[in-house]
Amino acid sequence: MKKLFIAPMALCASVAVAADLESRVEELMLKSFKESGIAKLDRQVRDDVQKACSSPTQPDAETMKRLEAAEMAKIQWPADGNYTGGDWKEGAKIAISGRGLTWRDDLASANGGGCYNCHAMDPKEVSAGTIGPSLVGYAKVRGNSDEVVKYTWGKLWNAKAYNACSNMPRNGYGGILTETQIRHVMAYLFDPESPVNK
């Protein structure tokens, strides 16, 4: 009989300890930092996606789906439904540059997309990261159907809409890249003349 009482209490205690640890870490992430240049302390506070993905294991499938739906709603699609108009040469510059948004940067200069930090794109570029999948021959491999084009725009704008805990930043939603810049990156991925598809 006694055991029946102890078990729920022990469970409560461990849940309380975990919650306590969580709030202590949140406090630590504020108190151990100071604002510097454009990097203010609001960067230390997590939104729903960041909070749910701050552990070695992913949330359950239902939570993932709920988060992804919320992120999907945040994607800004091109007003005219037209995904073209970008210049792959401009897209290449954005893909190569990993600059921007650190406390040393200012808001006036354009951010890079940092794509090469994690992805292979132009096969001639050997200094490509491996955290993300290779995007070499992007349109050659995937084609340029409406679905693929739309998916790619969405993925660039808000990667968390497709995988809530993706390592990829939310370029459009997070204000990392402008709509024009995303159009250029689209061209870099889809234009047959782009070195990505050569």
């Binding site: 151990s32 960041q50 406390w103």
Partner: protein
């Protein structure tokens, strides 16, 4: 003679590092690092640090020779390999740098704010860097050996693990974004998987290090500060609890493994 050789090594390092390194050079860097192993330019910092350790400084005009790094007053041999550790006198878990701040304050009367609010490579922070080089060189070849038995060490480890996975900021990054898998790279730079003992040891055990690309000696605090910069968070405060917690997490995870203090990096 030794000094001449060292100066030559430093000269070669600077000459090779100053033009933008191509990817091939980066990928071949391991061989280059091995070539330099006997003439790590960090030794120049170490010599400066040894002198500073023994020089009377600060309002109290005292040396650091009575500084207790955990193995007793003045014991430097092997001390860095056993840090961070819990210190009774401060009631805190301290890494090498926060402990040196305590010694500078209590023995020499130097205000820790001069380091905490200072700039890397300048003033008292430059002094700190030299002292760190001196102390870690006296743990060269020693394995990571942190004592995890104290409850405050265990608590810091748990907090450090949570910090490691804490995704935040404009790019949604955590430490784990880059250091959670084997064999990954950012551009051509290899990333240790810090969630595993070998990777944690590779990360923790190869800093502080001399960086050839900018001819600077970087302490672990400096390394963590730059990780957070690239993570796009706000600026971490020097020797703050977050930095200590992450240090305990890495050192604890890599415990027992070989270290290469001080390291050489691109």
């Amino acid at each position: 003679m030794k000094r001449t050789l060292l100066a030559t090594a430093a000269g070669v390092a600077i000459a090779l590092a100053s033009p933008a390194a191509t990817a091939d050079e980066e990928l071949n860097f391991d061989a280059y690092r091995q070539m330099l192993a006997d003439g790590n330019p960090a030794e120049l910092y170490e010599m400066e640090g040894e002198e500073l350790w023994k020089t009377a400084r600060g309002p109290k005009n005292a040396t650091l020779e009575q500084c207790n790094l955990g193995l007793g007053p003045g014991v430097v041999d092997g001390a860095a390999a056993q840090m961070p550790r819990y210190f009774e006198d401060t009631g805190k878990v301290q890494d090498l740098e926060s402990r040196l701040l305590t010694c500078m304050e209590t023995l020499q009367g130097i205000d820790p704010k001069l380091v905490i609010d200072g700039k890397f490579g300048r003033g008292e922070v430059k002094v700190m860097e030299a002292l760190v080089a001196y102390v870690v060189t006296h743990s060269k070849g020693k394995p990571i050996a942190v004592d995890m038995s104290h409850p405050k060490m265990k608590d810091m480890y748990e907090l450090g693990e949570k910090v490691f996975f804490y995704r935040t900021g404009v790019m949604d990054f955590s430490c784990a974004t880059c250091h959670n898998d084997d064999g990954k790279r950012i551009r051509a730079t290899e990333l240790p998987n810090i969630t595993k003992p070998a990777g944690a040891a590779a990360g923790w055990g190869s800093w502080p290090a001399y960086r050839l690309s900018n001819s600077q000696f970087w302490t672990m605090q400096h390394r963590l500060w730059d990780c957070f910069r690239q993570q796009r968070t706000a600026e971490p405060i020097y020797a703050s609890d977050v930095t200590i917690a992450l240090s305990v997490f890495m050192a604890g995870k890599g415990n027992g493994a070989k270290a290469v203090w001080p390291g050489v990096k691109r």
